[in-house]
Amino acid sequence: MAKIKIPPVLRASVGGEKEVSASGGNVGEVLRDLAENHPATQSQLFSADGELNRYVNVYLNDEDVRVLDGLDTAVGEGDTLVILPAMAGGA
């Protein structure tokens, strides 16, 4: 099981949690497991063709998965995924 850190805008979709666990051998599997357990996250994470939305960044520990192997990046036990959409609040 990998840990997933949930950003504020997605917390309502996972029952208010800041961190959830999901299983899978790579980033895509872990995120799809998340979407299965919390269907409201599906359209926020993935586009219609199953790719990660361009406005969502996903980090394996502290590294952007786009500079690794994207959704195919291997995820091990104890790894943390950080989901990070852009945030623009300033007031």
Binding site: P8, Y55, D62, D64, V82, M87, A88, G89, G90, A91
Partner: protein, 393 residues
């Protein structure tokens, strides 16, 4: 065994290398570290161009911040060449510096030869007192304080993030602060916008901020822009500032600002806040990633709560705004490791600060190109944003 001071100096000079002022003159600006080991009062009366001040009394403790590299070429000088000879011996024999020379005859001979002397602008007595806690830090000192006094920092917004940033940058002596804000002070602002006050409800924020800043530090010149930043005015407003502090509350302006600052090569210290969470990064064009490298596209309306009013813990913009102020000061002084290529994530409830790496995107629509290739009509452009902000209400 006792030796006279003249004999000791002769022995020391035999153990070190000396260099004539004529050679030093040719080496200025060629990557050689010129270090003045006289007292700071002597330094203030005039020094070699580009020299750093490391008084001999603080030599061992301060030389590493002035010249970290043990293999650097270093030339030491004093008034006549004696103190610098002793100092050279210390650096070579006690501290392992490899290429240290002492200038023959010191600044006295330098002046006799008619070579250029740089006279630092002196801080007034009041400034020396006001900034004394900065002057005591070797990484800042007189030189750093002068950099702060010469600096021009533009703040986008005198709101939650801009309030603490403006206060502390003013206190630190940043000489010129620009403030862009077209809003007026509202009672609901005062839960977090600490630069304003209850008495000034209804007053334009730029005027309210200016009053507080001048009350705190009359050294600071405030330039007020009571307007909303847009594609028509952005190039005119942001040109000429050294650093821009971004605390704007919407995506269109963030992208517009990014594109314009990349074109003008102005670093941006950016933060955003929501609820109990904050993000911060420094975007320094062409040295690190830009905002579009981090977020190629803005999220759709349902994931972009910034389009409307949202709740925020009042303390949080204080925390994030002061992290921004710290990054600004570091950029001005050229010290430390600014958060370039890193995004800091602050979780106030968890009391955690984590960071993720941000890479330059080789296919970035903006910063993968040269500044003069970025056209006016491209600034801040992305698909259909206004439509979905409207949809978000």
């Amino acid at each position: 065994m006792s030796v006279s001071s003249a004999e000791l100096l002769r022995q020391i000079k035999n153990r070190i290398d000396e260099v004539d002022p004529s050679e030093v003159k040719e080496l200025i600006g060629e990557g050689v570290a010129i270090v003045d080991v006289r007292g700071s009062e002597e330094f203030a009366t005039g020094h070699l161009p580009g020299a750093k001040s490391v008084p001999r009394g603080h030599l061992e403790s301060r030389i590493e911040s002035a010249v970290p590299d043990r293999s650097a070429q270093i030339i030491l000088y004093c008034a006549s060449g004696s103190r610098s000879a002793y100092a050279a011996r210390t650096l070579i024999e006690d501290m392992g510096y490899e290429h240290v020379r002492s200038m023959v005859g010191g600044i006295t001979l330098w002046k006799d030869r008619g070579y250029e002397v740089e006279v630092p602008r002196a801080l007034s007595a009041e400034q020396r007192d006001r900034y004394s806690r900065h002057l005591l830090i070797p990484e800042i000192g007189h030189e750093g304080q002068q950099k702060l006094l010469d600096a021009k920092v533009l703040l986008l917004g005198a709101g939650g993030l801009g309030s603490p940033t403006a206060l502390y940058l003013a206190a630190a002596g940043v000489g010129k602060l620009g403030i862009v804000d077209d809003d007026e002070v509202d009672l609901s602002n005062l839960q977090r916008q600490v630069i304003h006050s209850t008495q000034r409800i209804g007053v334009p924020k730029v005027d309210s901020a200016e009053e507080t800043i001048h009350g705190l530090n009359p050294d600071v010149e405030v330039v007020k822009y009571p307007v909303r930043l847009n594609a028509e005015n952005i190039m005119e407003i942001i040109d000429g500032w050294d650093v821009i502090v971004d605390g704007v509350d919407n995506f269109p302006t963030r992208y517009l600002l990014n594109d314009a600052t990349v074109r003008l090569r102005i670093p941006v210290v950016s933060a955003s806040i929501l609820g109990f969470d904050g993000q911060l990064s420094v975007f320094k064009p062409y040295e690190g990633p830009c905002y579009r490298c981090l977020f190629r596209e803005p999220p759709p309306a349902e994931l972009a709560p910034s389009c409307g009013a949202n709740g925020v813990l009042g303390v949080l913009p204080g925390t994030m705004g002061l992290l921004q102020a710290t990054e600004v000061v570091k950029l001005i002084l050229g010290i430390g490791d600014p958060a370039i290529g890193r995004l800091l994530l602050y979780d106030a409830l968890g009391a955690t600060l984590t960071e993720v790496k941000v890479h330059r995107d080789p296919e970035c629509p903006i910063c993968s190109r040269a500044p003069d290739e970025i056209r006016d009509d491209e600034l801040g452009v992305f698909p259909d944003y206004e439509a979905f902000c409207a949809a978000a209400g």
